[in-house]
Amino acid sequence: MTTHTTASTPEARELVLTMDGQEVSFSVGETLYQVSQRLRTEVPTLCYDDRLDPFGGCRLCVVEVEGQRNPVASCTTQALPGMVVHTRSERVERHRKTLLELVVSENPEARIDPLRGHASQELHHLRERYGVTGERMQGRKSGHSRPDDDNPFIARDYDQCISCYRCVRVCAEREGDYAISVKGRGFATQITVEFDGHLRDSACTFCGQCVQTCPTGALADRKALRAEARPEPIVATRSICPYCGVGCSVDLLSKGDRLVGIRPAMDGPANLGALCVKGQFAFDWVQSEDRLTTPLVRGKDGQLHPATWDEALDRAAAGFAKARDEHGQHGTYAIASGRAPHESAYAIQKFIRVSYGSNYIDNCSRA
C-alpha cells in the first residue's frame, strides 16, 4: 500500500489524489480501479480481468469523482492529480445493488460448482455481499446454452452468461485465437463461434482461458465437472506444468486422492493464467486404469511378464552397465517424458550425469 501524506519531490506531489478520505500517490497511466486495489478498497467488478484491456461493461466499478455529475467507471478512468474520489458512497452502492439485481435476474437459479472454473464464483460472491435475493427485477432470461456442443473440454452453459465478454476478450487479447465473438446486440447478445457452430470446428485451441475467466461458470471445465459429485473438498496444489519448457504454473485440483482438474495459476510468472490444451486438459493418464501397477520384465519368450521391483531393477542395472561397458560414457542418451513427474525427470538427469558422467540428457518437452 502506497499512501502518503507528504510527498518529497514536486513531481510526486503532483501525482496525488484523495480516495475515501485518504491521500494516495499514483503513477502515470494508473486507473482509479488500480489505485483502489492498492488501498484494498473492495470495489466490485464483473467484466474486469487485470490481464485484459479495461472494457467498462459491467459498470459495477463506478465511483464518484467530485465535480463530475455522474459516477465514472473506475476501471477505465485514469487517475489524475487532485481528484477526490469516493468508492462507496451511498449512491454508488445503491446503483451497484440495482445492477446486481438486474444481472442476477437474467439467469436461471443454479448452483455453480467451483470446479467450473477459476473465476466461476465471482457473481455468486457479489450477490452474497450485496444481499441480492433474485426477487426483484424479474423478467426474461438471456443466453442460450449449447448442450449440442459435445467437445470433451468446455461446457457452453450460456443460460448462466451475463455478457461480460471476458471470454471473447481473453481469447483475442491473450490467446490471439479470436475463436469466439459476440452475436447480436442488446439483451439478445450471445457468445458464439463463427456461424453458430461448435468449438471444435472453430479456431478454438481449447486453451481453456475463457473458462477460467468466466465470472459465472457459464463456460465450465467439463473434465473437472466429472468429479462434481465427489464429496471431498477441492484441494489446490501449486505445481509447474511438465509438458513443455515454458514452465506454466498450475494448481492441481484434487478431491481426496484423485486429481480432478487443472487450473492455470493467475500469478504464474511464465503464464499469468494461460495454459495450452495439454496443460489444461490432458491429465487423465495420471490416474488412468491402463497404467502399469507392477514392473514388467521381458522374458526369453519375448513377452513382458510381471516381476518384483528387485528383479526389474537388477535387469535395468545390468542393461545400463552393459551399455556403458560396450559403448562407453556417451553410448547412452536419456530423454525424460513430459508426462513423468518432475521428481522422476530430476532423478533421470541425476542418474545420467552422475553414473555416466555425461550430459546426454534431454526432455521431450524442451521447447
Binding site: A73, G184, F187
Partner: protein, 551 residues
C-alpha cells in the same frame, strides 16, 4: 454481370474504411451475406471470421439468408405506427418491421432493395422526394434552410448561383485556419447532432492535436426516431454539407473525410455521391479526399465512438472516453465528428459573419436549430427555429396545432431520447422554450431536435412502451445497465414486473436511476427519461395500466 467475391474484395481492399462498403457490395449482389461471402471477406481483409460473423449480426439490415434485402421493411416508428404500418405489413408479402426510418413528415416509408417508397396502403406506395421544409413562418431568419428552397439548389450550378462555395474559396484564399476557427467559435455554433458541444472548440482541439492524417467525419446516421432533418438537408442541399466539410478540413488540417450515412437513405446516397463528384470535378475538393460510407442498421452507430468503430470495421460498441475522438478518432488519429446540420451551418456563418449567426437566436441564445416536427399536428415538417423559441409558438402558430377538436397531450423531445413533456409543461408558465437550459431544467433536452406530437387520443403507457422497445432493440449490449435495463423497462411497460403501483414504481425508478448514472453511452443514460417523464406527467395512466393488468 455479377462480380466475384475476389473482384469485389480487390475493389475495396485498398480503400479507406473498406469493410462496410465491401459487405454492402456483397449484400447488394446476393441480397444477403452468405457464409462463403463472409469467409472470403475474412480472408481478403485479414479479419478473424468469428469477429466478422459477430459484427455482421450486429446490423439489422444485413441479412444472412434470402430473400434478405429483397424483402420489404416497413417503418413502425411511433408516428408511422398510427398511420398504416399494420396494413402495409399485412399487404406486403414477406414484410418485416424496421425502426423509425426518418420520414415521419410524410406517409409510412417502406424500404425494399435500394428503393424507399411511401404510402399508407400496399397499392398506394410511391417514390417521393423528401419534403422541402414548409415556407418559413418566422421573422428572425434561417441559416441552414435560408436557400434550401431555391430551384436547383442540389446541383453545383444551382448551389453556386446563390453564393455556394464562396465561403470555401474565401476561406482557402484569404483566411488562416485559426481565423476560420475563431469565426465559428464566435458564432456560438454548437453540435446539432445531440450533445451540443461547441463546434469551434472541437475544431481547435483537432487542429492542435499532434499526429495525422486528420479526418472529418460527418455523422449522417440520423437514427433517432422522429428526426428527419439531416435527410432534408442532404437531399436538397448536399453541396452545403460538402462545403462545410471542406471548410472543416481547412480549419483543422484534415486531409480526408467520411460521410457516415444511415442505411435507410438510399436515395440520399446517390445525391451525395453526385454532389461530391461534381465538386471534385471542378477542383473544389483538392487536397481533401471525401468518401461516403453507408451504415447497415444500428441506431447506436450514430454515437460518435460507435460510429468510428463501425467505420473501422470493428464491432460497433461505443469506446471508453477519454481519449476523445479529437485526439483518438478514426484509426486513433485526430478526428472531427460533426452532425450534418452543424456542418451545413458553417458556410453561411463564414459568409455572413459570426454576429449574424448569433443574432438568429432569441435572448441569450445563439443561432438556430432545425426541429423535425411530426405526429398529431396539422403541418408536420422541418422547421428552423431561433434557439429560445417558445415551444407553443412552434406547435400552434408555425405548425397549426392539433387537428380540430383535439388537444396536445404530450410531445417527445430529442426524438425519443429527451423523454416526454406533458400537459403541465405544455400549458404552464413560464412557457417552455426550445433551448437546452430550459429543457434540461424540465428533465428533457433538445438534442437532435426531433419533436413528436401526441394528441389526447393516445395511450401514453403504450407510447412509452414503444419508445423503450426501440431502445431495447438498439442497445448495443456493451454495458449491463442499458442491456438489461432497457429490457426490464420494456417488460414493465407491457404487462411484466410487479403488480402493485409502489413496487412497480420502485423497480422502474431504481432501474432508471442506475441507467442514468452508470450507462456507458448516451443511449442508456437517455432511455429512462421516457419512464421518468411518464411517471411525472401521466401517473394516472400508469396506475390505470397496472390496474388493468390486475383485472
Amino acid at each position: 454481370m455479377k462480380h466475384s467475391n475476389d473482384e469485389l474484395i480487390a475493389r475495396w481492399r485498398g480503400e479507406p474504411a473498406p469493410l462496410l462498403p465491401l459487405l454492402h457490395a456483397l449484400h447488394d449482389r446476393d441480397g444477403y451475406l452468405s457464409d462463403d461471402a463472409l469467409r472470403a471477406v475474412a480472408k481478403g481483409l485479414r479479419l478473424p471470421i468469428a469477429d466478422l460473423f459477430g459484427t455482421v449480426t450486429f446490423y439489422h439490415h444485413f441479412s444472412r439468408q434470402p430473400p434478405g434485402k429483397a424483402a420489404p421493411r416497413v417503418c413502425d416508428g411511433p408516428v408511422c405506427k398510427h398511420r398504416g404500418t399494420q396494413a402495409l405489413l399485412q399487404g406486403l408479402p414477406g414484410a418485416t418491421v424496421m425502426p423509425c426510418a426518418g420520414r415521419c413528415d410524410g406517409p409510412v416509408p417502406v424500404l425494399q432493395g435500394d428503393l424507399v417508397r411511401v404510402g399508407s396502403t400496399p397499392d398506394g406506395l410511391a417514390e417521393e422526394p423528401s419534403p422541402l421544409p414548409p415556407p418559413y413562418p418566422g421573422d428572425r431568419g434561417e441559416c441552414v434552410f435560408a436557400e434550401i428552397r431555391t430551384h436547383d439548389r442540389a446541383t453545383l450550378a444551382g448551389y453556386r448561383s446563390t453564393g455556394g462555395y464562396r465561403a470555401l474559396t474565401a476561406a482557402r484564399d484569404t483566411m488562416t485556419p485559426n481565423e476560420i476557427i475563431d469565426v465559428i467559435t464566435a458564432s456560438g455554433l454548437a453540435g446539432r447532432g445531440g450533445a451540443g458541444f461547441p463546434t469551434g472548440r472541437k475544431w481547435k482541439a483537432v487542429a492542435q492535436a499532434p499526429g495525422g492524417p486528420k479526418t472529418i467525419v460527418c455523422n449522417a446516421d440520423e437514427g433517432e426516431p422522429g428526426c428527419f432533418k439531416d435527410r432534408a438537408l442532404m437531399d436538397h442541399d448536399p453541396h452545403a454539407l460538402v462545403e462545410g466539410m471542406a471548410i472543416a478540413a481547412l480549419a483543422t488540417g484534415a486531409t480526408r473525410g467520411f460521410i457516415y450515412l444511415r442505411y435507410e437513405y438510399p436515395q440520399t446516397l446517390v445525391i451525395l455521391e453526385d454532389a461530391i463528384a461534381e465538386a471534385q470535378r471542378v477542383g473544389l475538393l483538392d487536397g481533401f479526399d471525401l468518401y461516403v460510407r453507408r451504415g447497415a442498421g444500428a441506431y447506436v452507430c450514430g454515437e460518435e465512438t460507435s460510429l468510428l468503430n463501425s467505420l473501422e470495421g470493428k464491432h460497433p460498441f461505443p469506446r471508453n472516453r477519454p481519449p476523445y475522438p479529437v485526439t483518438h478518432g478514426f484509426e486513433d488519429r485526430p478526428t472531427v465528428v460533426n452532425n450534418v446540420e452543424t456542418l451545413c451551418a458553417v458556410a453561411p456563418i463564414l459568409r455572413h459573419g459570426a454576429a449574424w449567426y448569433r443574432d438568429l437566436g432569441l435572448g441569450d441564445h445563439a443561432g438556430t436549430k432545425v426541429i423535425s416536427l411530426s405526429g398529431d399536428v396539422q403541418r408536420p415538417g422541418n422547421y428552423e427555429v431561433p434557439i429560445g423559441l417558445p415551444l407553443r409558438t412552434l406547435l400552434h402558430e408555425w405548425a397549426g396545432g392539433p387537428a380540430p377538436g383535439r388537444t396536445i397531450q404530450a410531445v417527445t423531445m430529442a426524438g425519443l431520447s429527451g423523454g416526454l413533456l406533458g400537459p403541465d409543461a405544455l400549458q404552464g408558465t413560464p412557457a417552455v422554450t426550445l433551448d437546452e437550459p430550459c429543457l434540461r431544467a424540465r428533465g428533457a433536452f433538445l438534442g437532435a431536435g426531433g419533436i413528436m406530437v401526441f394528441d389526447d387520443t393516445r395511450h401514453m403507457v403504450e407510447l412509452a412502451h414503444e419508445a423503450m422497445e426501440f431502445f431495447a432493440h438498439e442497445s448495443c449490449g456493451k454495458c449491463f445497465p442499458c442491456r438489461i435495463g432497457t429490457q426490464r423497462l420494456t417488460e414493465r411497460l407491457s404487462g411484466g414486473g410487479p403488480v402493485t403501483l409502489d413496487a412497480w414504481t420502485a423497480e422502474v425508478t431504481d432501474i432508471g436511476d442506475a441507467m442514468k448514472a452508470t450507462s456507458a453511452c448516451g443511449l442508456g443514460t437517455a432511455a429512462p427519461l421516457i419512464t421518468d417523464s411518464l411517471l411525472r406527467y401521466f401517473p394516472d395512466q400508469v396506475a390505470r395500466h397496472l390496474a388493468g393488468r390486475k383485472a
